[in-house]
């Protein structure tokens, strides 16, 4: 399989497919980072507050890296991508938009499911034919490894804790799972990306993800939801009301004066 040493080596169809992929990755990380940052000052204990906030910053940093790569492909400005779009222009999964509702169990479960999806995808992207993307995936490996350790540890502890904690976590899993499957909603770029060796098919990644999360959820004593229909739509801009509300909050300062220099 030929490799693309630089972004300019992509043809037009591959370039559009790469932008589609990078937009999904960047938007997922930005919105997940923002959601998790909503715990700053509210997390159960100080140490966790700092750790969760720091990981939220990591995700926003990853979003910035993806937007920078989009900038090199399309000329779009990273800040405008992050703050200058309406909800329908975002390509994040509904999973990251789901409100926290001050439910710590749900949020650490989501963090685990999300970071396992990132780990599966980034591990595959380390071998991407698109060399700059493969290099970025390797650079993010350490932070993602830590995120996964964190999420896994919390899920195992809450799942094996009191009946109350266990039941809440189980309810959170039923709520989260269909949306988590939506992380692997295939787009029109799916075949192009796989054929060009840039990123595997979404259904392949979903299978890998399921075989990675199921044993951990089992160790946490949780029932795995069966015959679940994925909640799709985010990858084509069909976004829930929750994302609109999140963006109104996140973009409020930017929208006062989009041309302001910081």
């Amino acid at each position: 399989m030929p490799t693309f040493e630089t972004l300019i080596e992509l043809n037009e169809i591959e370039r559009d497919a790469a932008i589609d992929l990078l937009t999904r990755l960047g938007d997922d990380d930005l919105i997940m980072g923002h959601r998790n940052s909503e715990w700053t000052g509210l997390a159960p204990i100080l140490e966790e507050d700092i750790a969760f906030s720091s990981m939220a910053q990591d995700e926003m940093g990853h979003a910035q890296a993806y937007y920078q790569m989009i900038h090199e492909l399309s000329g779009d400005d990273p800040d405008t991508l992050a703050f200058g779009r309406g909800p329908r222009a975002y390509r994040c999964s509904s999973f990251v938009s789901l409100p926290n509702e001050r439910d710590w169990g749900f949020c650490v479960l989501r963090q685990f499911l999300y970071d396992m999806a990132e780990t599966v995808r980034l591990t595959a992207l380390e071998h991407s034919s698109l060399v700059p993307l493969a290099q970025l995936a390797r650079k993010l490996r350490g932070e993602e490894k830590y995120h996964l350790m964190h999420g896994r540890s919390w899920v195992l502890r809450l799942g094996n804790s009191t009946d109350d904690a266990h039941q809440r976590l189980q309810a959170a899993l039923y709520k989260a799972y269909p949306h988590a499957l939506g992380l692997f909603e295939p787009t029109s770029a799916d075949v192009t990306l796989a054929q060009a060796g840039i990123c595997p098919r979404e259904e392949d990644l979903m299978r890998q993800w399921e075989s990675a999360v199921v044993p951990v959820l089992g160790d946490a004593g949780l029932e795995i939801p069966e015959d679940v229909q994925p909640v799709n739509g985010g990858r084509v801009g069909r976004q829930p009301e929750a994302l609109k509300e999140l963006l109104e909050n996140m973009q409020v300062v930017y929208n006062i004066d989009p041309s302001a220099k910081w």
Partner: protein
Amino acid sequence: MTDSQWPVFEVFHQQARGEPHIYVGSVHATDPEMALILAKEQYARRQACVNIWVVPIEAITASRYEDDDIFERGTDKSYRESWGYVTPKTTQQSDQKKENA
């Protein structure tokens, strides 16, 4: 004041392999594995770190400050310190340099 939170773990970090682990502070955590996870973000997110130790505070036996007089020296023991030795040659050389300057 009694601590009503999770158990306390003392945290030591190592800035490079071969360097000593240095005490940096403490974290509250349910268990050692969680203490490592939380300690990483509290004490290793801004500076170089290759390794962290966490130690349950109960594992540490400390001397009493009331007994800190045991560390006082009854007589001159400066001979035990490296600075207790005068190094006249070096001093003379540096004095010489000053005069020549």
